[in-house]
Symmetry: C2
Subunit: 339 residues, 2 copies
DNA sequence: ACGTTTTACTAAAGCGATTTACCAATTCTA
DNA sequence: TAGAATTGGTAAATCGCTTTAGTAAAACGT
């Protein structure tokens, strides 16, 4: 049926112990000749150990879980690729789960993956408005016996390791850039209420305004859901309030804003300046390339993996939360205010 | 340490066999009282069977593998979401692996996943120019004891189930559209040599030309690699050969072609018509929306899952290969030839 | 030359489930 | 009332690996 360690042992005329020792590079005293022979036979037969058997003994699966709110969003897709790349390089497999931004599914998925026997978990939380549920979730996560790290997002109050861009600083940089161009009526399209990333970016926007002595105006904040369509709607609303510039909490919504500006018969950046957040691949190739806050997705993925890997190999680690420096990329969608 | 079936047995004063039978709803003759007792004890202690032990015996994990060449490509990202959605709805988990379009990694990944104990596999093959290796791969796949279905792509000669768009028909529709607008010097940017999808789409292009009595000119075919940058380079090359229209084998390369046209100081569609393939989300929101061949990604994912599920539940199925009808979406990037 | 190391390897006990084959007592059936 | 069927279970093998505790023979030290 399947080629097992026993078959190698038989072929090499040694015991399974010897084979196991050699193939796992465990300290041993097997002669060089035998070692080579075993390796050759294993390679020739394309031997791969049965992970159930291994896992049953070692309690390890060399598999991690990655929980993402929206894999179809380019940002998360690239994040998935990055994490996958680093974890496969370390000999781990990745189980990917998509939660459609549903916090209840976050919960369910964590449980599911735990019972599938993952060794660790990387999770980009869905937004959750429900404080009580969140706090149950926190308890459950902190009681988990597998290590996990938060990626991109975070739940207020959760003690854990994680990595994300410095969202509020990013929001601040974007807004200050607009202010430096002479804009005063600056609209903000935020992500969904209850989303950690959205709240932080909004915070940055508000801080920038305040620091520059511009009064914060509730009416200039429109709530989106990080999707294109919602950016379009929100921008329409802001345009009606006479803004001359818009800070969109992600690029996708910024694209929606472009469309809204066009709909109103105006032009980016001549009439309206727009700055986004994420720096998706498309932002650079747009006919009017988007000024935006760059997130280094591969570094995000790498650090998330490194944090998890540390804990996998060395359970007693302290929590670390890394915040990556945002990077303002100035392109053609922003310009000095007219008149 | 962990609560096992043995603990339940001890607590209920029965054998592990009895517990196993009850908890798995296997045909048994256990009395109602004992059954209830066992269930209660299991529930009280929050018993979850060790999946390694289960998998070691049953060889089932309720997990499938999805192998994709490039998760960062929006097309595949959406495909992943679609497959994930349908398979989680049926109680399965999905392990996602990215191969970076490396056929050697296809091989390795299949083996890896098999040994991780997946029950089935959905695979979008990487292109492979190496005929000999392909044929080894085919042998290996056909000998596999888990069911698999090919998605989007296919390996020449492989007997299997699968689903994809009708690539060549799509290529033909795109090209005929250009011909109907009066274009004669039509360039084609193909995907990588050896890629099934690329070859089929190219075939459609050639057939359209031939059927319309236009001589096929090798010089008007430029090879890309499905990435933006390669589309840019290829288009530059084609423009040098005086084409008035370009059929790009995917949208990403079509975006590259837009850029090349701009670089040459020309305009889409006034000077150059462009048609793509995939109909990514972005194609519709571009300032000059792209005329393209629409693929229904969610149907692709659904059908792939359905085919696999059929085999999972009912191993004796015959192979089926579904080809989805392509759909030409006419937007603003194509126009009647000048002059 | 005799004890000690080192070298090269092995037997066997798990890991935690499933599953097959069987058993003893009770209840039917003809 | 004897044999068959049913009821209510169990023992033990097995899945494929890791790991501990050896062992026999060769090499070494003095």
């Amino acid at each position: 049926m399947k080629y097992t360690i026993r078959d190698i042992a038989r072929e090499a005329n040694v015991s399974v112990t010897t084979v196991s020792l050699v193939l796992n590079d465990k300290p041993n005293t097997v002669s060089e000749g035998t070692t080579r022979l075993i390796r050759e036979i294993a390679a020739k037969n394309n031997y791969v150990p049965n992970q159930f058997a291994v896992g049953l003994v070692t309690k390890k699966t060399n598999t991690i879980g990655l929980i993402l709110p929206d894999i179809a969003n380019t940002f998360f897709a690239e994040l998935a690729r990055s994490v996958d790349q680093f974890c496969t390089a370390s000999g781990y497999s990745m189980i990917l789960s998509n939660t459609n931004n549903d916090p209840v599914k976050d919960w369910a998925t964590v449980n599911l993956l735990i019972n599938r026997g993952i060794d660790g978990l990387i999770i980009a939380f869905s937004q959750d408005k429900n404080k009580e549920r969140s706090s149950c979730f926190i308890t459950m996560l902190e009681d988990l016996d597998v290590p996990f790290v938060a990626l991109d997002s975070w739940i207020e109050g959760l003690k854990c390791s994680g990595v994300s861009i410095h969202h509020s600083k990013g929001g601040m940089m974007a807004t200050k850039h607009l202010i430096s161009l002479g804009h005063i009526k600056i609209g903000c399209i935020t992500g969904p209420r209850g989303s950690y990333t959205a709240e932080r970016r909004l915070k940055g926007y508000i801080n920038a305004l305040t620091e520059s002595g511009i009064a914060f105006d509730e009416d200039l904040v429109a709530v989106g859901n990080y999707q294109f369509e919602s950016g379009f709607e929100a921008a329409l609303h802001l345009l009606d309030h006479g803004v001359t510039a818009i800070f969109a909490s992600n690029d996708l919504m910024a694209y929606g804003a472009y469309q809204a500006v066009q709909e109103r018969g105006m032009k980016v950046p001549d009439d309206i300046s727009i700055v986004g957040f994420d720096d998706l691949f498309f932002s650079a190739i747009l006919p009017t390339p988007l000024t935006t806050i760059h997130q280094s997705i591969s570094i995000l993925g790498e650090q998330a993996w490194n944090l998890l890997y540390d804990r996998l190999k060395n359970s007693g680690r302290e929590n670390e939360y890394h915040q990556l420096e945002p990077n303002l990329i100035i392109r053609n969608s922003t310009k000095v205010r007219k008149g």
